[in-house]
Assembly symmetry: C5
């Protein structure tokens, strides 16, 4: 648990036992406090329950790893849950409890942006100096912006796939498409529910936030909308690539079968002719002709050429 | 019929004939009563109609096995229908009639969560001690949470299918996909209509429920939304798996046909050559050459090798 | 034209010329009248226009056979159009004109539920005794409930189809699917527009209906919603069955082609060998070997076995 | 430009120069005027701009051939744009400017319904006698009703197609489906935006229209909704027919390939046997058997029969 | 930075240092100013921040190249972002800051319409003479109208494709379809979010715009809606073309395979017969018949004719 207290304009890092005693003073003098809880244990729970007077349902939600994004207004605070990305790139739940003079953040995994901010006293002081909601905005902003490199990576892979799919048959492309669609679904699954939360933050004239800050949250909201737009777009493009893939596969089959057909239809008649003159009838006049063999070879060649031209004309060969 | 009466803080299990007489007292003193009706017969109907003064349409709905989820506000009570899962895992209708001081639950099959609660006097007393709606919340919560193990099971099966589909042709995968989609449709069919019911319970400042309890119902509502989200997600993934399956099937066909084509186009010319030298013409100069046979074998081998290389280059062999 | 007049609590069947004269009295004493018009001719039109003072547009709509479901509020009455099923099972337009003290029903074909009710004086008296809208509710309720046997029949056929589709190729299943989808579309086409009408009847505190009756119409509304839900569900299942059908067809093709490929690739080399030893070269050493013939037969057998094993391993045979 | 002036109940066809002078009197005495502009030139523009005081944007819209349907309320008039069908059956823009006492209609092509009405003085007088909006309603009603013969024609073609598709392969059916879908798209593209316009006319208690007329526009609105419903329905049916077509095509392929497979697998072994006994080995004992030839023919026949039965059993032949 | 100042009705092009000093006078006398910033550097930022008192978030947005379209109302101005097309035909962000008496436009690439307007003093004076929002409308109008030539070009390509797809197999058509869909997606991606912006401008009675101008913005809004309608329409048509393509490809395959099947099934039996009479059995009576050879040739011809007629009847040949 890391606690940052902007005591009359001076940033202090305090211990949580110390915080408990100072809370009445903080609330009286409207000093701003940010309590970050990178893990959620007994102490954290007690602090929330006893000293900040947080509703049991909120505490329960904070302690869980898998909540859906939500925004809930309680009497003395606003409870917001969003997704962030931990250092391994997995989505993880970020809890924000924002009251009149405090911001409490709870998460269950290491978040790079949180750690970076906590090492930057100047930044914290500046943000707390404006208000606790600017700390919240700063953290959310960084987390939402993490989507764009992921989307760009997907875009790159799609472009390569678009290229590959035109000449490659086999199951490679469809697996790739499936994999990318899966990624987009996962992203959408996590981003979509955040849209309405951020819309609420950017609109609602709620009592825990300064009117001035809604403009900032509108900005994050816009980013979320853009990310969702991109996802929808990419999914459509992937469907188009899938159509190309199926068409390429099916045209490839046609090509293979054309080769088979052309070869078979040319060689079957020739083989028949050869077989006929291989029959052992006693009376087969052609067999005794002097140039019979060469005439037949010529006839075979002629048939082959005619059929070839026929297929050539039909663009089969 | 099981009746639990929280008489001035003490839990009592009373007989329904006794309840009938005590009702005026209960209503006067605002004691809380939970009447559970695991079967719905003459007695139950009479109790509802005569003593609790329930509307005939509600009684009719309670007596039916197949109602859609609904929420209906009447003058003296709120009528809610949701789905639960009975001990065989089938969806079944759960009726809740919640008035100022009573909760009546009606269902037609054995529900594990109800039976468990009824054996736990302490729990009932605690819940009734807060209010009848907490009994309702407790039961609904358990029932809604039953969806998640089902969804996880489907998720597991999908993951196996994702693996299987890449190397298995035949109709197995498509049957599996159909089966899973069917399950998801059934789930959605039952869960979707509950969403708006629970939304109403978590929002509506209605007279039969304490404002404090809406936070709890919002929680169940959130779970329902998450379940529906998951279902939609899974359906999309199954569609992706289906695409993979069709691609794998169609590429497999291509592979088989390539083998056929390569074999045919290599052997047809060779057989023609052999047939030609099997002809019985009197004048076939090559037949008398000393090494004619070996030259022809050599020519055949050469043709075979050239064609093989040709197909190799086109990645058909 | 059949007229039922609940004159001070006694049901009377009156002639329409008699009704015309009694109307002022009826309206004055708020007796309830139900006028059923199973055909719509000159007399009926005159009655509506002159005596009940119905708007020309409503009369025009009543006289037409093909109106869309609608609800229109006029100054002195409410005009509702729904679909019913005639005795041949075809959808037909049902018109309801409900004023303060009268219900006029117009339809152009024989409706079983109407005929049954008109033969049951006790029932009519009971319903008119409550109010004219309960006659309307009674008729609508029966008509809406007719959808469910149809849906169940479709469900049965789908189940059989699910079974059939796994082993039957050919166009049979796809025709069946098309036929069932067509039926569902027709149902949806007729039921969907009724939903909002019934919603209006179950909500709207309009002046021609008692507040108490809206609960009853909400019940019919619920049935309509359930029917539409089922239709949507069935359509999804049919799409799933179609996927299975296409997969089965395409796997069957694969199987056929595998047989062709396996046979061809085994016999082509053998035939080549036989053809080679059928050549008439003068110098073919093997031909003079004592066991040449048997050696070659052995070689052929060996090749056949090896290739068979090869295909066996690739699961093609 | 054709001008119809209902001067104190008498219909007058006036010249536009005459109209300009009479306008103040018309407006003062609330006579009703219908100005039809079947072409839009300098005179028409001047009349609108100077004498009727129409907004420049409306005039610009009237002068254009390709506006989207719209309804715009200005200070002194309501501007409505819908689509009509000209005598060649092409969609064309119909402009309606309806003020307190006048209706101005502008279109750029010959519309049959307009011409017919303009030849029918009695009808115009009757309509203007009620109000200018009844002229508008009359024209719109005829135009909207033109959709239904088109839709019926499409329905007929679909029914024929449904029949044809079951036995016809080739690209004919898919072209027909494409063509019909294209037609439906064009219809929808033109009808869909009119829906909200007509909804506005049938609801809005706007100052330029009598309340009584909204019932009439609701009627046209209903027709539009029905047309759109039908279009949606037809598109679904066409998709179903497309599925049937693809299934028929693919089953036909299966049938063709089965014939190929059955023939090949029967004749390949027989040809091998014949080839074997065509080999020229010196020591082939069977060749000298007295009935060798007939035994071998018998063996061939046996193999052929066995294979045929085998395929018969698998329903391939 | 180009500054146009309509000083008491006379257009002046001023330098930005001069503007800074004149601003108080401008604001006092309600002169209209248009500041165009075709690039955004230090000076521009300072002007916005210090002299026009623009919110830091707006300045940040202006400085970025990739914002989503948006409309944001601030205390002293309205901030609008739309897309325009630069001279290379790429979408680029257009920023509009419109206050009581000024319009500031910021973009990062050369826009043809802006450059053209800035060279036309008369036009600027006329527009500024009406109000700054007419400058904004003029610029937006030209940019939105740029979509239609693009859409027409796509329409032309689709028509060619419709033609091509009926006789061309191979992957050409599907690539073309993919390419066109991609273009439509890009267009939609940029146009769709503008719709609501323009709707807001055409509705909202906001304080920075004259009521009279909303009619003009409604016009642009209509264009946007039409463009989106067209895009949706084109996408549907492309899907139809794709269906035709897949059908043509699949029917082509059928045709190729029919040729293969017909040839194989005709020649396989004939070759068998020839092979049979090529066997070397000592006792083959037919071989010694005088006309044996000709009888067999006749039998072969007969078989070939019969099979040909058989396939002819099945429409395979």
């Amino acid at each position: 648990m890391d606690i940052f207290w902007n005591k009359k304009g001076t940033l202090q890092k305090v211990h949580h036992s110390h915080l408990r005693n100072s809370l009445p003073q903080i609330f009286r003098e409207h000093d701003k406090v940010w309590v970050d809880m990178p893990r959620f244990g007994k102490d954290e729970e007690e602090l929330l329950r006893v000293y900040f007077n947080i509703h049991p349902l909120t505490i329960e939600d904070c302690s869980k790893v898998s909540s859906r994004p939500k925004i809930e207004e309680f009497d003395t605070y606003l409870y917001v849950v969003l997704y962030g990305l931990d250092v391994q790139g997995h989505f993880t739940q970020l809890n924000f409890i924002i009251g009149q003079d405090y911001l409490i953040t709870v998460q269950h995994r290491q978040i790079a942006s949180y750690e970076a901010l906590k090492r930057d006293d100047g930044k914290i002081q500046a943000l707390l100096g404006r208000d606790t909601e600017f700390v919240m905005h700063y953290l959310m902003d960084i987390e939402i912006d993490k989507y764009f490199p992921i989307l760009e990576h997907i875009d790159d892979q799609m472009e390569k796939l678009e290229e590959r799919v035109t000449h490659e048959t086999g199951n490679g492309p469809v697996h790739e498409i499936f994999h990318l669609k899966h990624q987009l679904l996962t992203l959408k699954h996590h981003i979509a529910p955040q849209k309405e939360i951020l819309f609420a933050l950017s609109r609602k004239g709620n009592k825990f936030m300064m009117p001035a800050s809604t403009d900032y949250f509108r900005d994050i909201y816009d980013h979320t909308v853009r990310a969702l737009d991109d996802i929808e777009n990419y999914r459509e493009i992937l469907n188009g690539i899938l159509d190309v893939h199926f068409s390429v596969t099916s045209n490839h089959l046609n090509d293979v079968i054309k080769v088979l057909t052309v070869f078979s239809t040319i060689f079957l008649p020739l083989t028949l002719i050869a077989s006929i003159y291989g029959m052992n009838f006693e009376h087969m006049p052609e067999l005794t002709w002097k140039y019979g063999y060469f005439i037949i070879l010529g006839v075979m060649l002629l048939i082959a050429i005619i059929m070839w031209l026929f297929f050539k004309k039909r663009h089969w060969a």
